[in-house]
Amino acid sequence: MGLTVCIKRKLGDFCLDIDIQSESSRIGILGASGCGKSMTLKSIAGIETPDLGVITVNGQTFYHSDEKINVKPQKRKVGYLFQNYALFPTMTVAKNIEAGLKGTRQEKQKRVDEMIRTFQLDGLKDHLPGELSGGQQQRAALARIMAYEPDVILLDEPFSAMDMFLKDRLQQELIEMLSDYRGIVILVSHNRDEIYRFSEELIIMDRGAVVTSGKTKEIFANPGKREAARLTGCKNISRIQRLDAHRMKALDWGVELTLQREIPEDTAYAGFRAHEFLPVWGERRENCIRVRLAGQAELPFEKNYYLKPEEESAGWDKGHICWFLQKDKWGILEEKGMPDYLQFREEELLLLS
């Protein structure tokens, strides 16, 4: 098991230049739209050709620019799940599943029937894709891929065009259907929840480059890089000035923070997730910031407060500090009113470069 993708390709006004090595079988690629993640996936499938580099999957070379190797997509045994599923519109479900199969008619028939059963498409065999619901289309597309027994499955933003309700159900369904699959699965998405739910290993991309990579949970806990923090959903990021090994000034928040742990010399930013603030009433504590309410939004299960730092030295006139409060904690605010301060808890403070 193993994946190497080390490629370069010109992409509009920037260059896709990545070096990914992974032994994991569930890989997520997270990045904003247009960062090159889809191009990376298409290069692995052989639908697009990089300018130069190497792509190997499970020890098999798909592409090697120096050795002039470029295996045709037909020979790569890669399953690609497109965002719109790309089911052949004029073929029935059974014909779609059969499209990638080789062998005698009986063998194909047997395999198709097997897939129809496994993917709960009973009774839909002779339907055209246009007559299926979104969930049935996903199952048919996956059945078509699985029938072909690919070595790798590539999922290209499969849920991005769906409504919330359907998305949740189909994500769960897809994870379950892939749970028996032994090969490598790569999911590309701009949705951090999707990625977190699905992948063991995470690669974060920005403008054609890999920002960071590693175990998904570790990256969410400690993104390390500013872009990684932003893409994993950190709402509050400030430039910092390191004063000494344990003290730094958060320039955008206008507050001086003192830490027990040592602040690495290359720290340039600090991040703090919106859910992690500790409200403080009355006396000011360590690492606290005085704030003024600038706006709020009430969602079904949480409230979002947008706050302005009151500190005089805060150089932040454009942005806000975001504080998100879950429903179960609303009571305390109703009782005591808005807090006087918000405390940055050291263990939750992200030091970023």
């Binding site: 045994k77 790309a86 089911l87 052949f88 519109p89 499209a99 055209l128």
Partner: protein, 234 residues
């Protein structure tokens, strides 16, 4: 109204069969050539595409007599290709039914080509990509995925090609002439009888052409309409 029945009874029906045969064969040839050309042009780089597309579309926008002029230049038995065809293969084009077919094909071909091309360019490219990752050969992807998905566009191209080939006049009269029973198509017969002032016979042929063209269009619409109900266009 006895005269009309007399005229119908005495009518030489050969133009009908000649026109239908010419239309059918020209449509058959244009169907494959048009799809093939469309496939090639869709793949081309923009600059080359513009030039080749222009050349392939020319017969549609030029007067048919210009096409007739070039066809005569090519196939005349005083020209190299005409000489070659006659002496080596015993094929005569000028003043023969083959001339009818060639003239109608050249004039009607752009309609097939342009409709097929427009249909191919609207195909969801992911369908082709999906076919490739599933290990389907380019040939299978084209004939089993792309062409059926482009079905309505190709169907309308075929109808228009047939209707146009059926009524071709200018290039046909120059290349094949109007030999009764051999190359005398309906449109040539109409022109001929009008010159004799025989408006009744002309009217009969006009009605025949209108009926055939309308029937072809309605038939094809019904065929593609049946499929349109189940195939969602995107």
């Amino acid at each position: 109204m006895g005269t009309i029945w007399d005229i119908l009874n005495d009518l030489d029906w050969s133009p009908l069969w000649i026109s239908l045969k010419t239309g059918a064969v020209a449509t058959f040839i244009s169907f494959f050539l048009g799809i093939y050309a469309a496939r090639k042009v869709v793949k081309m780089a923009p600059g080359k595409k513009a030039v080749i597309d222009g050349l392939l579309t020319l017969p549609m926008v030029l007067p048919p007599t210009v096409a007739g002029f070039f066809l005569l230049l090519l196939f005349s038995r005083r020209r190299p290709l005409g000489i070659f065809l006659y002496e080596n293969l015993d094929i005569k084009v000028v003043q023969t039914w083959l001339g009818c077919v060639i003239a109608a094909t050249v004039i009607a071909f752009p309609l097939m080509y342009r409709n097929a091309r427009a249909a191919f360019e609207q195909i969801d490219v992911n369908l082709v990509y999906a076919g490739r990752t599933l290990g389907m050969s380019e040939m299978r992807i084209f004939w089993e995925v792309v062409v059926p998905s482009a079905g309505p566009g190709i169907a309308s191209g075929t109808i228009l090609t047939f209707a146009r080939a059926l009524g071709e006049y200018g290039a046909t009269s120059m290349l094949a002439g109007n030999i009764p029973g051999k190359t005398g198509t309906i449109s040539q017969r109409i022109a001929m009888v009008i010159q004799d002032g025989d408006y009744v016979t002309a009217g009969i042929w006009v009605a025949a052409v209108i009926l055939i063209a309308l029937a072809a269009i309605i038939l094809m619409n019904l065929i593609s309409g049946k499929r349109m109900k189940t195939v969602k266009r995107w």
